[in-house]
Symmetry: C2
Subunit: 437 residues, 2 copies
């Protein structure tokens, strides 16, 4: 196969990725939960998400991996290492999507992990450490407002209380949704892994913005993963008649919400750090009738940064702003903290492993932070974690318009595969052993 | 019975209203379409609206009126006059509601018209002109976005094309909704009345704001009825990932919508006339997910004034503003004109008839415009029209919290009843006849 990078200097010959098989897996998964409009609908803890896990589990079995699932719905495929008792190199991402999401988000990392193991198998390349390909459940926060439920169960950070508290738009709790799929709720604590079981975690993922495409780099190496603080704002005004109520007598919940939307944008742009982003993605108006001044608004604010302090500064500024707008307009406000995640700086040595692979392969890369949250952020609590980003030709994600070139995916999977070998050596060296033969 | 006004000077002794019967009718109607939250849901062209019409038709028959309906669902109860061939005095309002509306809006005017006729009957008071009590269909614009469909059919201003074009939120057109209720769509042109059939129209209605309550006046006499221009705005931005997309690269449809909401408020307050009001009552965000920068917004603007020129100035300013916001933010915009009504100044002589009644009864009143639209605005195209407003203790309408005191309703019905007698004389005088014996 040919690298799309012309100026390759010292090309690693190892190991070949089967592009046709990779494309076939992506295509098959893109049919699961596809809507007529071309969007993917594999929401967390739905039959569609389970179908995708079944597909991947079947491919893992075909590849000779030992497959198992856990009580939160994560799926694992294990390839033994050359020596007993060593920690695993874990690779993977998620299979769930938002409403009308894209076909590459998450999926590329799961199929990529599977393909990396298949490539090693076919070329009879053994590793010292076991390799575990993982498909996480419920990474996206779209259904329940909280993200990374699968990986959080694995690191032991998913209290039962939260499973009962979080609800989707139909009032179904995570606990109920899990049980409806036949998973044993009370066994979720057993999902937790011991950190000694994992030597390193690597997530391959598409970039969810236009950064690499703008820079014309096919690969990104993540140095830090941003995290979200999420606020739910409820505003109660008064539902007056739109014709009979003079402007000065109104307590318009939507006008208050509009001020908040613009101030969220302003604070993210001006007050907060260079990498702070903030979004009002969801806003519902009640009663939502053309002839009634809006009496109630519920809106969610998503605040992200790779710098925890900057995120806290922005969050405080927004809370103060909401109170000020509400007070000035005679609106009752309530602010609920939905999510408060910590950003993660990824381990230097795992990042250096990827950098080494890119340099040896002659692949042009850029080290950059990820504003989007990922399972790697959660897994970094358990073990040194790393992330390889694949260039996103469309520059957008969380949309049916998301598009990634197959040549970039293949390149990403190749970097992932070589990174596994590099980490296999690096882990041994870190234990004081020599390069493995 | 006793007037709640202490300082009554020259009290008209005529004719007594049955408060118990009036209250009973209002209570019975308040059960039709009532939700657990206390709101009334008798949307235009629904089974609930028809049930209310059936209730009123039964009471009309009990009162000895000749009852008939027309092809759009209006219900009429006719009491003959003393002389053949004279135009009718028409009294009434509507029985439909918005989603979760109040129990007095419209209903008070229908029950009031019925009670006025019953009071005249019981006291054997004859009139020269026939009296027609009417319950209009589909006054509220909540379901289909267009108001006064019943009265517009009566004045011949409801083209078939509009019945097919207007849709509710489920995609059901007015034409289909009418036919599903068993009404003959193609006979709607037969709903039209000849203006020579009507001598005057009087609508009793609750005030839909706090004006009279603030002034401590129990009755209002309307001099002009405002009208609405309604715009539907569609904004198309780009649905980006909320974590991965920097603030400067966004095309956030909701941020654009928020600017529009605040500018609509500002234009109504500052640029336009003293009586201009404007509202964004409905705003829907797509995809409406916490982790996605909003890609699309659909919002409706309702602009009202009693001055047609001021309303047009405000509308033009808003259209220009929408284009400016969209252009600056890189958003695609579309503006659709949903409704363009003309305000109406009511006839001086009908207004003077009500003023005379109030003065003779010693009832404290205020002449004032109505910002809310009413069937009287439409009926004014057919015949001289008048409106009596009843004080609204709650100061709000289009809400389950709408509340009107029974004593104020009784007073309003009494003023209405005396106004009928006053108009009966005035119509004769305007034809050059003397005061009727």
């Amino acid at each position: 196969m040919h690298w799309p990078v012309e100026a390759a200097t010292e090309v690693l010959p190892l190991p070949e990725v089967n592009q046709r098989r990779l494309a076939q897996d992506l295509r098959m998964l893109a049919h699961i939960g596809a809507s007529p409009g071309g969007g993917i609908n594999r929401l967390a803890f739905t039959a569609e998400e389970r179908e995708a896990h079944s597909y991947v589990a079947a491919r893992m079995r075909e590849a000779g991996l030992t497959v198992r699932g856990d009580a939160i719905g994560n799926t694992f495929g294990c390839r033994p290492g050359g020596r007993e008792g060593l920690p695993a190199i874990v690779l993977g991402s998620h299979l769930d999507s938002i409403y009308e999401g894209g076909q590459f988000d998450g999926t590329v990392g799961v199929v990529g992990a599977l393909e990396a193991v298949r490539a090693l198998n076919e070329q009879n390349i053994a590793t010292l450490h076991p390799i575990i390909a993982v498909a996480f459940a419920a990474e996206e926060g779209a259904r329940f407002g909280a993200s990374n439920l699968g990986s959080r169960a694995l690191v032991g950070d998913l209290p039962q209380e939260e499973l009962r508290r979080l609800h989707d738009g139909n009032g179904t709790s995570v606990a109920v949704a899990i049980q409806q799929l036949g998973f044993p709720l009370k066994e979720i604590p057993t999902c937790r892994w011991d950190s000694r079981q994992v030597g390193a975690f690597v997530e391959l993922h598409i970039e969810q913005s236009a950064g690499l495409e703008t820079l014309r780099k096919p690969v990104g190496i993540v140095d830090a993963i941003g995290a979200a603080t999420r606020l739910r704002i409820n505003l109660i005004g008064r539902p007056d008649h739109s014709g009979a109520t003079s402007m000065s007598l109104r307590r318009d919940a939507l006008a208050a919400a509009a001020e908040i939307v613009l101030n969220v944008e302003r604070i993210a742009r001006e007050t907060a750090g260079r990498n702070t982003v903030a979004t009002v993605g969801k806003l519902n108006v009640k009663p939502g009738v053309i002839t009634v001044v809006p009496g109630e608004v519920e809106m969610d604010i998503d605040i992200r940064d790779i710098d925890a302090d900057m995120k806290d500064i922005a969050t405080s500024a927004m809370e103060a702003m909401v109170h000020e707008v509400a007070r000035r307009r005679g609106i009752q406000e309530r602010i609920e903290l939905l999510t408060h995640q910590l950003p993660s700086t990824l381990a230097m040595w795992t990042r250096e492993a990827i950098r080494g692979v890119c340099q040896e392969m002659g692949v042009d890369y850029r080290v950059l932070p990820s504003g989007a949250g990922h399972d790697a952020r959660v897994m970094a609590d358990l073990a040194p974690a790393a992330m390889i980003l694949v260039r996103n030709k469309s520059g957008i994600s969380h949309s049916p318009a998301e598009w990634v070139e197959m040549s970039d995916i293949v390149l990403g999977v190749q970097v992932l595969t070589n990174t596994v070998l590099k980490l296999d050596d690096a882990l041994a060296q870190r234990r004081g052993e020599g390069k493995h033969p």
